[in-house]
Amino acid sequence: MDSYDVPESTPSASSRPEDYFVGATPLQKRLESIRKQTSFIPTPPRRKVPQCSQLQEDVDPQKVAFLLHKQWTLYSLTPLYKFSYSNLKEYSRLLNAFIVAEKQKGLAVEVGEDFNIKVIFSTLLGMKGTQRDPEAFLVQGLILSPRLECSGTILAYCNLCLLGSSDPSTLAFQVAGTTGACHHTRILSKSQLPSENREGKVLWTGWFCCIFGDSLLETVSEDFTCLPLFLANGAESNTAIIGTWFQKTFDCYFSPLTINAFNLSWMAAMWTACKVDHYVATTEFLWSVPCSPQSLDISYAIHPEDAKALWDSIHKTPGEVTQEEVDLFMDCLYSHFHRHFKIHLSATRLVRVSTSVASAHTDGKIKILCHKYLIGVLAYLTELAVFQIE
């Protein structure tokens, strides 16, 4: 994986005239090396097996339990400009205002489900690989308290935001004067039938993190916060709205992170190598065969202990995984399948891998099942995200 840029231009930097004018910041050195196209990086042939890591020292496992067993969609995010952890309340307020304004525009309306979301920002302690990594933070969209059914008057609970003012207590007085807004609220409140028990339920979650993101951190200047990995769970329209707000406020860019088959096979090998006390799920692979008229899917399920036994017979050095071992592991699976079914799985495309530790789909969907290896899984995903940004 071409993810680590070798900082090779340091000795020759002094001979170029540009560097006399402007101090050669690491960013400029990187730009130079990209322009010269000398950054041909060989695949790092070995990677560390995710260890049962520092997460448990920092953070109570219960607090991150809500991150497990959920399907997350992955995005890679360029560094955020002028983001500060002390302004989280301010950001919540602004984002709430923005969401309400967007919903009022009627652009992102889902049929039958128009809940109003209140957004809360909070930091996630302990979700980092090294001390240098910035703190992870979490954005949660909770369902607002329902509007009471009432014939005419608008009550203080309605959250129509007019032109940026987002303080709920003042809204009630402003809204009463505008008939158009009243009409809007009445229609909405009809669809909100008994939902008292839904108040405060989390509707949408998104979190930003950076685990072992050293290669990106060194090249970025002080004003930027690097949190290259973004995981979202919830309705797509909400993700789009919140993403737009972040892009406008912090001048960053989201792009969906897809995982190609090469990386999926690495993930399969690394996750099989992890020691798990009891196996909650079978190890399963899904291949897609491109044939017309419609593609064929092949699913191959292996008992996790057998997969671990196979891996142990291949694995040589403890703690490190090499490219040859991954290839050998996959070749063993392919040849076993070929012997029984005479189908060459290596000619098809690996689409999904799921083990007891986590499961990943090529479209960028991931589900983590084991909290022990949470950091390890995220570290690999951060590496992919950083590679995509670069």
Partner: protein, 180 residues
């Protein structure tokens, strides 16, 4: 005779023969059609093969250029190519062999790292070309390029030989390949 040798047969008059080796039949067929559409002074013959060794029962002309087509989406095609390379004589690699990697455009479908193919081409000291054979325009351009290379390898271009071409192509590669 299971090993392909470059000079074991006499050349026919004004004929140039290319052998395309690869697992993807449809792509090879399309590339062959594009090549035959090119207008060229010599007579072109395109042979397609899934893998080497070629069956010895068929009477075929002398092969001037072998192109190994590797599909980056499937590891099977890489393994097939590696198997087939064993049946090619060493003197073929003096400019008469070329590697073609297809499918690099769709990154999410790739199951072979680009580096693997580069290393393969470097080991065999042969040029590596990239082309997305599924796209019509790229395929036509690549066909043109292969036809020119074939003419040089068959000796129909005065003043340039296959070995000349090989050294020309090699000098344009970056110096960083030496640390592979």
């Amino acid at each position: 005779m299971s090993v392909l040798r470059p000079l074991d047969k006499l050349p026919s008059l004004n004929t140039a023969t290319i052998l395309l080796v690869g697992t993807e039949d449809a792509l090879l067929q399309q590339l062959a059609d594009s090549m035959l559409k090119e207008d060229c002074a010599s007579e072109l013959k395109v042979h397609l093969a899934k893998s080497l060794p070629l069956p010895s029962s068929v009477n075929r002309p002398r092969i001037d250029l072998i192109v190994f087509v590797v599909n980056l989406h499937s590891k099977y095609s890489l393994q097939n190519t590696e198997e087939s390379l064993r049946h090619v004589d060493a003197s073929f690699f003096l400019g008469k062999v070329c590697f073609l990697a297809t499918g690099a455009g769709r990154e999410s479908h790739c199951s072979i790292h680009r580096h693997t193919v580069v290393k393969l081409a470097h080991t065999y000291q042969s040029p590596l070309l990239y082309c997305d054979l599924e796209v019509e325009g790229f395929r036509a351009t690549m066909a043109q390029r292969l036809v020119r290379m074939l003419q040089i390898c068959a000796g129909h271009v005065p003043g340039v030989s296959a070995l000349n071409l090989l050294s020309l192509l090699r000098s344009s590669e970056g110096p960083s390949l030496e640390d592979l």
